[in-house]
């Protein structure tokens, strides 16, 4: 490895970051600084907290209790880590090796630098000091031999990050093929999402069981012992759990098992890193081992006959340009992997979550609660689509330039965009509502009210979404959900908007509340009141949408050049 290369690469990264901050302006620099300070503060707090807990509480625990405590820590860490993976499933390299491969730079150098930089993330910044604090606390409370926890911990984090890096590299390699990457992103996101939801689902399913068998377990110590046995076994054979295993041994005063665990995890980490390097090399330099060329993919003969394209469809009552935008936008959204990821990551989570909960407990919902539950379908759908709704131009990238160049009325463009989103949200809503109908035994009145509510929410959030899309557009990189170009200020606005969106959904629940109150405290039947309220709400939403569409179109026209700058320029 050449020192000069390494120095130059570090300098390159530093320059890129500095220039980026300069371009971003003062507000953004200050915000970024605040986030860094927050991370540092959390790290320090975690370290001190860990130290205190280790010295005062954990030091007095039995070896077995220690093991379970560490089991919990590992489980929570892995869960958080997985969530982080979902949000940024692809590896976004700190230094893009593909821009350096024509230079006399060793891939190894870039690889190690990128791997080292992959450690700079909030979750590690909190977890590493916290767990190290725990280790030192234990050393204070229990004796210096507990310091062997430190290499054990480092080996653990090394193993996890190395394999994560490997996984991301593997995905990146798979995604070189544009077509295959759709399937890959879908599959992997789905997998990770389901995995991340697993604790939730298990909790839901198990809570009942434990409630039922809880009493039995209390006396039945045999069953308890069985649980312990299973856990111990898992600790012996699942590599990430070698950390608790080693910690248990150290707590009991034995050093050797922890050393073996350290060595084992270290070796596994090395293996992961080697694999990651191999993949990276293959990615940038081609597969040098596979001598035979892969069989050529049979390209289908060009179709001569073709039906009407989706982009050719007209929509009744919708102006032609709006229909054209709606169809073309729907067409690209259905193909874009990043949109699919947004859908999968949000909608599927909600469907699985809500489905799980309601299938389990739906029957227990009292009749008075059903109108509220029905509306949940509408709310969950829109929450899931938030990312698409609030940044409607960010997915267009260069395509937005086409929109600016077109002679169409700008409100037609907004209308078209909203219609294409409706085409996506409607099926999701129908699926969710059917799920709820089956599980919570919704009646026709509740279904009708849910549909009215869905229309209202679609319109009202459409207004908000249009407004935010115009004010805070940010670029979404092709094939990833990571907002590559968001300024810190628009990121803050995004977070604020997503925090307040549930509040904005509250008016939706006013009609069923009125109905409920009528039922409870007056002789007036609640259902007609609820329905009437829903109709009024829908009318208000229609009015709001209709009145704001053209002004928002004018706003779009005024700001389109700024939006263009935001969604087309890419910064490293």
């Amino acid at each position: 490895m050449y020192l000069q290369h390494l120095r130059t690469l570090l300098w390159l990264r530093w320059r890129l970051t500095r220039n980026q901050w300069r371009r971003g302006g003062q507000v953004n620099a200050i915000l970024s600084l605040l986030v860094s300070i927050l991370g540092l503060g959390l790290a320090v707090a975690g370290g001190v907290g860990g130290l205190l807990i280790g010295a005062l509480a954990l030091a007095k625990a039995t070896p077995q209790a220690t093991m379970f405590a560490w089991d919990g820590i590992v489980a929570v860490f892995l869960f958080v880590w997985l969530l982080g993976l979902v949000t940024e499933i692809q590896r976004s390299e700190v230094i893009d090796a593909s821009r350096l491969m024509h230079l006399p730079v060793l891939l190894r150098e870039v690889f190690f630098l990128n791997y080292a930089a992959s450690h700079i993330c909030l979750s590690l910044a909190i977890w590493v000091p916290t767990t190290l604090g725990l280790a030192f606390g234990l050393a204070v409370g229990r004796g210096a031999h507990q310091l062997w926890l430190v290499p054990l911990l480092l080996a653990f984090f090394f193993m996890v990050t190395a394999w994560t890096y490997c996984l991301r590299g593997w995905l990146a390699a798979l995604m070189v093929n544009q077509r295959r990457r759709r399937a890959v992103i879908m599959g992997v996101t789905m997998f990770v999402v389901v995995l991340a939801q697993l604790p939730n689902l298990l909790m839901n399913v198990w809570r009942d069981d434990t409630r039922r068998v809880g009493a039995a377990v209390a006396h039945d110590s045999g069953k308890n012992a069985q649980v312990v046995r299973v856990c111990t076994l898992a600790n012996r054979f699942a590599p990430p759990l070698w950390l608790p295993q080693g910690a248990q041994a150290l707590q009991a005063g034995r050093v050797w098992p922890s050393l073996i665990a350290t060595a084992g995890m270290g070796l596994l980490g090395l293996l992961g890193l080697a694999r990651a390097y191999q993949l990276t090399r293959r990615f940038y330099q081609g597969d040098d081992r596979r001598k035979t060329a892969p069989p050529p993919v049979a390209t289908p003969a060009t179709k001569v006959v073709r039906g009407r394209l989706l982009v050719e469809r007209t929509l009744p009552l919708v102006p032609e340009p709006a229909a054209a935008v709606a169809c073309a936008n729907l067409r690209s959204m259905l193909r874009a992997p990043e949109v699919k990821m947004a859908l999968v990551a949000n909608v599927v989570v909600f469907v699985i979550l809500a489905g799980g909960i309601f299938l389990k407990h739906g029957a227990a919902v009292p009749p008075a609660g059903r109108p509220f539950i029905a509306l949940a379908a509408a709310c969950l759908t829109m929450l899931g689509l938030m990312q698409l709704l609030f940044n409607q131009f960010g997915f267009d990238r260069d395509g937005f330039r086409a929109l600016v160049l077109l002679p169409a009325q700008r409100w037609h463009i907004l209308l078209g965009k909203n219609i294409s989103l409706l085409a996506i949200s409607l099926p999701v809503f129908v699926v969710l509502l059917s799920l709820l109908t089956v599980s919570a035994h919704l009646g026709p009145a509740e279904l009708l009210q849910a549909c009215l509510g869905f229309c209202s929410v679609q319109l009202a959030l459409g207004v908000l979404g249009n407004w935010l899309s115009i004010l805070t557009p940010y670029r979404i990189a092709a094939g990833s959900l990571k907002p590559t170009k968001a300024k810190a200020s628009s990121q803050v606005l995004m977070v604020v908007a997503s925090m307040f969106m549930p509040l904005l959904l509250l008016p939706l629940f006013v009609p069923p509340l009125l109905g409920f109150l009528c039922n409870e405290f007056t002789k007036v039947p609640g259902t007609p009141i609820t329905l009437l309220g829903a109709v009024v709400l829908l009318g208000c939403s229609c009015l709001l949408y209709g009145c704001t569409l053209k002004p928002l179109g004018r706003l779009l026209q005024r700001r389109e050049q700024r939006i263009l700058l935001a969604v087309t320029s890419e910064v490293e």
């Binding site: 050719e312 229909a323 073309a328 002679p407 263009l564």
Partner: protein, 253 residues
């Protein structure tokens, strides 16, 4: 004679950099106008301002006798304009036919016309065989050809082309040149930038030369030919002293 393009005092600054400064362009309708200049002279910036992709810092613009100061009229006039911008304007996830169909519909062409023109343009640009490819899978030249097709599709009265021949193969380039010629013959105006002086010399009827954001020459091709070649004129306008003076030191000995 009506003017297709008219600007006065057109200026655009990027921070302290003045990309275009006090530009006074006059392009008559029915002309084939070549806009020349060295790299970074401000050609693309001018086109972006004229087509509404970039707001000018100051100055006024008129296209086809319409003042672009009024946003509503500026939007409406786009109906008669076709553009190939510097960084193109394609949607990643549409096929060529889908993209052209979309553009055609946005220009409010009847469906049958859109279909027929799409087919002709795709055949002309040799993209008809690439039905299944998305534009993000296209090569650089293919993207350029698609953008050209989209600009020609609505049969505009005024065409802005930012380096249309860059990256395009010889066959398509030849066909494009013929198409543009017949375009102008029918009364439309073409405003193009290019670094290939031979092509400009063959095609254009008028030439403007910009350097450091200022228009330094605006002459007809006939005048240029009367006094020499376009290349001589260009080098004289933007400083041919450089060509001789600059040599690489380590290649000298």
């Amino acid at each position: 004679m009506t003017l297709a393009i008219e600007t006065s005092g057109l200026t655009r600054r990027f921070g302290s950099v003045c990309a275009v400064e006090g530009l006074d362009l006059r392009v008559e309708a029915g002309k084939f106008y070549g806009f020349l200049g060295p790299n970074g002279a401000g050609k693309s910036t001018t086109i972006k301002m004229l087509t509404g992709l970039l707001a000018p810092t100051s100055g006024t613009m008129r296209l086809l006798d319409t003042d672009l100061g009024d946003p509503e009229r500026a939007r409406a006039i786009k109906q008669r304009i076709g553009v190939v911008p510097e960084n193109l304007a394609l949607f990643d996830n549409l096929t060529a036919r889908e993209y052209l169909t979309f553009i055609g519909r946005m220009y409010l062409l009847p469906p049958d016309t859109v279909r027929a023109r799409c087919q002709e343009l795709l055949t002309m640009m040799d993209l008809a065989g690439e039905e299944t490819k998305l534009t993000l899978e296209y090569s650089h030249g293919m993207k350029k050809k698609l953008a050209l097709a989209a600009a020609l599709l609505p049969d505009p009265d005024l065409l802005f082309l930012d380096e249309p021949f860059e990256g395009v193969d010889a066959v398509a380039s030849r066909m494009l040149r013929d198409t543009l010629k017949s375009f102008v013959k029918r009364g439309a105006t073409v405003f193009l930038t290019s670094h290939v002086l031979e092509i400009v010399e063959k095609l254009c009827t008028d030439v403007g030369i910009i350097a450091h954001g200022r228009l330094v020459q605006q002459v007809s091709m006939a005048e240029i030919h009367a006094a020499g070649t376009l290349e001589e004129r260009f080098l004289a306008a933007v400083g041919d002293g450089q060509v001789e003076a600059q040599k690489l030191s380590w290649l000298e000995d």
